[in-house]
Symmetry: C2
Subunit: 454 residues, 2 copies
């Protein structure tokens, strides 16, 4: 009998993260110091980041990085996450495909972000810091940080994108319940926040703005460092636990995916899910199709350029080479949920550029239609972000229905939608609208990109 | 190594519900027809309830009731639920006690109510009905019904207590996403709703009112029946799956509880959790302490009377013998979350009257303090309802700290608090208030109780 859910035992939780970069022949481009256009050194990065995390960020060679015992122990309070066979969805679609999802959203933070928050807060604590600063968009990362900080006993200061702060006051209360201090961004408490407010009066913020504010506070406050929930190599490293567990679960089941799908904002969810599978591809052991599903309103893979750009709107962070819409790009306010970042993980960008990853972009009403179908079939209310992956998985399953192929589809259900009911209400009431940026919007966004290195 | 979470395998999901009443020497008092003061017959009950559920309601003799294959299959999409060792909470409290909780809230409906919704909707479908009607207070039962109805393909019509409809619009959207039709209660669409609005102008509703409306619609609409999420014998029967799984999980772990704690509103959570353990007590095999934890603002066990009373405010339902505050009792509007019902399961009332169950009542700020402690330690945001049980468990664990006793405490974490952030915001901001009804409030509530049978 096929199970619905496959759980590893707690002792089977991976002991090591897997570093995809170690198997890449062409490595992701290094971060550059915008002042010198030279690769950022560990010393420079350590002003803002924890030492151990800087080491992980710059290490393209070590294939397996040990997960500290304290972090593994903490993982056991919310992991292993199940690999779920979506039998009822298959039935509704009438597809011969076997659909699986790795369910990372079943913890109070509501997403996979807790995997990296756990590691990052632990390393900050180990370094003897007082606290951490960060930003949050839809609120998942902030909630994850608040939870991990409560566990390890660290002060947690979060800048929350203003539009989410208004749309999702409840996320703020989750963070406060776990003891975090939450400020809407842009704020008047940082220099860069005041500057952004002068330049874009009335802006409801962006992840880029919030990053600038959190970085400024970390760099100027004694005993604090900045932590980031996506984009960076270190985050993809921590998130590899998703793929490692999924890979092991497939072995237990005796099945194996043909297509692996994740939604993409900064790339940590897709990067984590595909890691060990991509490793097999990079080592020439076998092939998979990898698909990144992104919003048509913030289409960094499908319509961005592969350039060096600032990771933040305030232009105080290092330059990363990535698929970017330009650090001045602001997604339309009708955009629900996360996946609002203008850029994309350098690692995923390089893999995409090499043709190893495909990408698709969806408008939000079709994404919510997929979410509703999934919810009614599988009894889980998905996050709008994750629903991009659901939409892609349904599309692939329907192609199988037409062709009669019994493909195996794995997608990442990276989060739950309990805090996205404002968007669901719009969808249920028929007032949700779509938005696709025009070429002139994209040109404007890219006009903020700095001169490229030679 | 002790695990944090113990999951049964899907094939270990119980095949039968356990009916506590079969082992009770003194049975719970039967429902009475208020017109004749005679026990309700199956025929009379079938006007409102599904046939199979009527059978279960009246059957005090069958010890094990088979769980239909379709229901077991549906359970597998969200069960087995884990039995969790609260190691981090134990550490924070510094208690020698071992604390376990059975986590029933980790599904989209947010609570244990889905266990009974699954069975009830299935039986309605099997009877060939078009749809079901019901009420919901905090929204968990309504969400559970909407989910089960989406699964089995039935029309779902929910009357939602008006105060919750306003405080928790997001629950409404969860129900709508799963295809349910939701009306705030009291409404002007039923006769009894209009009557209640005339008598209590401006009322924000109660579970009792909403029940009256849903029952009226079921009794007057072709192809519809009424389903109830708590209080009834049939619901406790379905919820016995909680205790049965917990009992089995303890066997696997090689441990056993001394104290079993559940929060109590209508009694389905406590009744389900304790069922097989109470069975052992009733059969004289061993002893446990059972504790029901209720809000001081709606204290049916600790301050109610053991009387025949209407189950609903509209006085159109049968009479049940139960601990009741009187069907006219309305909890103060500052009361957060569910547990607002004026009465209590007849089965639990009888067991309480026999001295087999203890009860404690807590004010809401101390309950939220316990919730915060639990959240920070265990990384789960608990429902306010469940937090009553957490408070009782913490109190018992602290007694062990004083006495040095290594007792084993099991409590039911019946739900998550993702939709209770308005209340958490009040708590976090220090604006939450407590309310204990005065003796005159209780006297007023009891003045609505009908004349007792001789």
């Amino acid at each position: 009998m096929d199970n619905y859910r496959t759980y590893l035992s707690e002792s089977e939780i991976p002991t090591h993260y897997y570093n995809m970069r170690a198997d890449m022949k062409v490595k992701p481009a290094p971060l550059l110091n915008p002042a010198t256009m030279q690769p950022m050194t560990a010393e420079e990065l350590s002003v803002v980041f924890c030492e151990e995390l800087v080491k992980q960020e710059l290490d393209d060679e070590t294939k397996f990085v040990e997960i500290p015992e304290e972090v593994r122990e903490y993982y056991k309070t919310f992991r292993p996450s199940p690999l779920v066979r979506a039998k009822n969805l298959e039935k509704r679609l009438g597809t011969p495909a076997r659909i699986y999802f790795k369910f990372e959203g079943n913890n109070t933070s509501g997403s996979h972000k807790l995997n990296s928050a756990a590691a990052q807060v632990y390393y900050a604590k180990k370094q003897g810091l007082k606290g951490i600063t960060s930003e949050t968009g839809a609120g998942q990362w902030g909630s994850a940080l608040a939870m991990a900080s409560a566990h390890f006993g660290l002060d947690c200061k979060v800048y929350m994108v203003s539009s989410s702060y208004e749309q999702k006051p409840f996320r703020r209360e989750v963070m406060r319940t776990f003891g975090a201090d939450v400020t809407p961004s842009p704020s008047t408490t940082t220099e860069v926040g005041r500057k952004i407010l002068r330049e874009f009066p009335g802006t409801r913020g962006s992840l880029g703005c919030a990053i600038s504010e959190a970085v400024e506070e970390a760099a100027t406050r004694e005993g604090y460092r900045y932590v980031l929930g996506s984009v960076l190599n270190q985050v993809l490293l921590h998130q590899s636990i998703i793929g490692l567990e999924a890979h092991k679960a497939f072995e237990i089941i005796g099945d194996s995916p043909d297509i692996i799908i994740g939604c993409t904002g900064g790339g940590s969810n897709l990067g984590g899910l595909i890691a060990p599978f991509m490793g097999e591809v990079l080592r020439g052991e076998r092939n998979y199709r990898f698909i990144g599903a992104e919003p048509a309103s913030c289409p960094s893979f499908t319509r961005g350029k592969y350039l060096y750009d600032f990771c933040d709107t305030g232009q105080i962070c290092p330059l990363a080479k990535m698929y970017t819409l330009g650090n001045g790009f602001m997604p339309s306010p009708n955009h629900a949920g996360g996946l609002r970042f203008h850029g994309m993980s350098s690692t995923l960008s390089e893999l995409y550029d090499q043709g190893l990853i495909e990408a698709v972009a969806y408008e939000q009403t079709e994404v919510f239609e997929a979410a509703e179908t999934f919810a009614r079939a599988e009894g889980i209310l998905p996050a709008p972000e994750s629903s991009h992956a659901i939409k892609a998985a349904i599309d692939e399953a329907l192609k199988c229905k037409e062709s009669g192929e019994e493909k195996v589809i794995l997608f990442g259900l990276s989060g739950t939608g309990y805090f996205d009911l404002v968007a669901y209400e719009q969808f249920n009431s028929g007032t949700m609208t779509d938005y696709i940026p025009g070429d002139e919007d994209l040109a404007k966004g890219l006009s903020f990109v700095p001169p490229q290195p030679e």
